[in-house]
Structures are given as C-alpha cells and as structure tokens.
C-alpha cells in the first residue's frame, strides 16, 4: 500500500497521434503497487523552472515487465519535456496515487466513456473488467488507442467533433442513438462531458463512476490544492471539499456537486 517514489527508466516514447505520445516506463516499485485501474502517477519534469509534478493516468500496467504505460498529450512546458525523453532516459515518478475505479461489484454489462486525454485510464480498466465491455470514446479530430481496446475484446464506438473519424458529434450522441446494455458506467474526460453523462445516467438509473481532474501542486495529498466538492450529509452545507488526488480521482457521479 501507499505511493512510492522512484527513478523510472524510459523503455519507449512514441508519438501515436498528433501531439499524443505513448510512453512505457520501467518503474518496478510503482508497477507492483498499482491496486486499481484509474490510479495515476506524478511525472516530475527535469528542467528546474518546472517545479510541480504532472499528474498522468496509468494507461496500462505490466507487472511482469514492471512497466507503466502512460498516454499523454503535449499541451505545455512539462508534457513538452516528456515528449523529448528517449529510451533509457530516467524520469522521477511517484505513485500509484488515488482511488481508482471500483471493479469489485458483480456487474456484467460495462459502459466506458472517455473523452480526449481521459481515454487512457479506461484501457487498464477495460482489461480488468469481467463481462461485456462497451467503450464510447470522443475525440476532437484524431482518435487513438482504438485497436488497444479492441484487442482486449471491447466493443468500441468513436465520435469526433470534426466528423473525420467515427460519427460526427460527441459521446452523448452515440449513447442516445445506440441501445447499449449497462449495469455500471465508468468515465474520464472533460468536466462538461462527465456532467452530461452523469445526468444521462441518472435519468436511466445507471450508477456511474467518474474520474475528475483538478489543478494539482503536490499530487500526493499534502497541499489541499486540488479539492472538489463531494456531497456530505454530515456537513452543514451538505458538501465538503475532498482531495481529488488522494480521495479521488474517481468518485460516484451521484456524490459529486456538479454546479459551477
């Protein structure tokens, strides 16, 4: 139990779509400590002016190879530094962090909904789930990881905003069109998508687990920078702040305060 800190060694770091990279990092202590899909790691950028770790979801774990796979988008300074890493370079990593997706129930019909860089953690989830897995993924333009999901036997639907791949529109459009059997839904992606999915699931009376994203500083539960509002009947306001990094990032959709 608990998070580890170690110098990971880059095994490979390849571009798989525009600005999207897939990196395998050898990090035995961390790889062997992953408890649930949906946990994340902190990657520490090397350059000294970048002070804070970058939280990145665990996309896949291979306990035999003792590797963690991450799939990340280059959006700024830190991820730009990661993209330059080469085989055998070292990178400091801490993790695994957080409460991931709960797969201990006896649900058989699983719906996984991902948007953009929220897609990667769903891959390890789809590997571990027992039963039928349907994956609905939304991208702006260019999809990625589709074959990986199919390899593990999931039925995959894709929507892109541009309509260049899959169907034009968003993940909700697909859910409304298709008749998918669902006992439990799991999701990671932009907050508006999570919010819309949560409402849709509520109408249909389907439990949904959502992975939230917040700005983080320490990434390990120390700074209280990353809080989100969770329902709390014991509190006078009916909610209290929870740390997204270590209390989450996955919460039941019905427990999250969505307004704002």
């Amino acid at each position: 139990m608990g998070a580890k800190l170690e110098n990971g060694v880059v095994i490979s770091n390849d571009q798989i779509a525009k600005d999207i990279y897939s990196m395998f990092i050898k990090a035995p202590n961390i790889a062997n400590s992953v408890e649930m899909p949906g946990q994340f790691i902190n990657l520490y950028p090397k350059e000294k002016h970048t002070i804070l770790p970058r939280p990145i979801s665990i996309c896949e774990v291979d306990s035999k190879e003792e590797t963690i796979r991450v799939v990340y988008q280059v959006v700024g300074d830190g991820t730009g530094q990661f993209a330059k890493l080469k085989r055998e370079d070292e990178i400091q990593v801490s993790g695994p962090i957080g409460n991931g997706f709960d797969i201990s129930g006896d649900h058989r019909e699983h719906l996984l909904v991902g948007g953009g860089v929220g897609v990667p953690p769903l891959l390890e989830l789809s590997k571990r789930l027992k039963g039928n897995v349907t994956v609905v993924l939304g991208f702006r333009d260019e999809p990625y990881l589709i074959e990986d999901f199919e390899k593990y036997g999931a039925k995959v639907y894709v929507a892109t905003e541009s309509g260049k791949h899959g169907s034009k529109g968003n993940v909700l459009d697909i859910l409304k069109q298709e008749d998918i059997k669902i006992d439990m839904a799991y999701s990671c992606g932009p907050k508006p998508m999570l919010k819309a999915l949560n409402s849709w699931c509520q109408e249909k009376d389907i439990p949904v687990q959502v992975s939230l994203e917040e700005r983080m500083a320490c990434g390990i539960g120390v700074c209280v920078g990353c809080v989100c509002k969770k329902k709390d009947s014991g509190n006078k306001d009916g909610w209290s702040y929870k740390k997204t990094c270590t209390d989450g990032p996955v919460f039941m959709g019905s427990d999250v305060i969505w307004d704002e």
Binding site: I51, L52, C218, C223, G225, C226
Partner: protein
Amino acid sequence: MNNKLDLSVDIAGVTLKNPITTASGTFAPREFAQFMDLSELGGVIVKGIANVPWEGNPTPRVAETYGGMLNAVGLQNPGVDYFIEHDLPYLEKSGTKIIVNIAGRTIEDYCEVVEKLADTNVDLLELNISCPNVKEGGIGFGTSPEMAAKVTREVKAHSRQPLIVKLSPNVTDIVEIAQAVAEAGADGLSLINTLVGMKIDVNSKKAVLANKIGGFSGPAIKPVAVRMVYQVAQAVDLPIIGLGGIMTGEDAAEFILAGADAISVGTASFANPRACIDIKEELINYMNKHGFKTIKEIQDAFKG
C-alpha cells in the same frame, strides 16, 4: 562520515537534531512518511491550524509559475480539535520535534488554539500572522508593527510552549516588524511566508487562481528571503528559522550564512517528495567540503 558533525540546533530552548524542518502547508505526516523516515527531520511544522475548521477557497487554488508557484488554498484546515485527536498521536510517534503553525482571523482565535495545545506534547508554536490568502484577519496582523506586536503579546500570554512568529514579506520594512514582535515577547522568528502574486492566462484573459491573487513560493523567491533573513538577523537577537525557495543543501547553507539557525523546506517538497532528506544530505556534504563541524560555524563564517 557525519558522525564527526553536530547538526543540532537550539530554537528557543528546544533542541532540533538537525536544522531541517518542513514548511507549514507543504507537509502532511502520513503522506510524507511514504517517502521518508520522519525521525530524520529536525522538526515538522504542520499545516496552519485554526480554532475551528476552515473551508478554504474555491478552485483553482494552485498554479505553476517560472521557478515557483502560486497558492490560494485559503488555509483550509480541520481545526485544532481534529488535529489533536487525529494527527498529533501520529506525530508523537514520529521521533521528531512537533511545531504547530497557527492561523487565526482574530486574536481570540489564535489564543484559543494555543490554549488547546498547551496540554499537548507539541514542542513549539509558530504563529502565522502573515498568510496573504485570507481576506479577513490574517493580512492585517503581519503588516503593521503595532498589530504584529499586539497579537504576539496576547498569544504569548496564552501559550505554554515557546512562540515563533512567522513574518510576512509583504511589508515595506521587515526589520521594523521583526523588532516589534521581538519586543512583544516572541521566542523566535521564522521568515519568509509567501509573497503576494498573480498569474493571468493571456488566452482566456482570466486570472488563473479562483481567488485571483495568491501566495508566491519556490526557488524564484529565494533572493528576497535571503535578504530578509540577513536584515532581520542583523537587527534582532532571536533564533531564526529561514525559508523561501530552498531547493538544495547549498540553498540551506545560504540561509544559515545569512543568519538563520534552522531552515524549512516548502515548495521543494512538491518538486521532490524526498527533498527534506536530500537537502539534509547535501548540507552535510557542504559542511564536509568546507570543514564545518556545526551549524553555528557556518553562521559565523559569513564574510559580509
């Protein structure tokens, strides 16, 4: 190797086994214990504690800046009763000195906290009169010599443990405040707290922090902190815990040369959860390299 060295320092009558402490708000005992043995630290300074729980500010609360970061956590904390019940027993077993940072909106708030801590095994108190995040209270105390002296005097009168007063750098004359606090009975000083800063996203044209402004910390602020420690050490005869941007053992040595007796590691622990331990080892290397046997010898070696 380090058995020839004596790293211990005395802060207001309390002996720390080495000068490395954790800066308030950047340390949590159980989380840090995943990465280090807490007994290796000279002391732990815990997150600001108030008389009652504080909810804190809306998010985003944190942002990175070049060589630093901003935070507007708003001193979210579970209150002193929770601290005594849940965190203190754990800290008591950690084998290091316990320093509790205290937040308040009024003088009475502060006094209530130190009174509740009087019966505990807490070793030292650190009075945060400086957090720039909290709109009410906090900001007023640290920025005028009169208010700083008043809160120090009253809190001192209610506390059992030695009282360290943590100064705000957001003042025109830090020496004037330090002197006022010293005259009012402080047993030690720590400095600096965060500078007030702001970051605007030029694409969205919005302030990055929900609170708009926040506390600026990290290596970018170190020269300001070193300057203030130096000026205060020249003027006031109290033990000083120096902090602000310490990332390495040499940074720690720089603060000690400027006049600090101990140091705190803050934002560096976000950049590296084992920073305190690495800094301690680097400080030992520095001492060996320069032939120093004690922390006092480093202090005395400053050539001006």
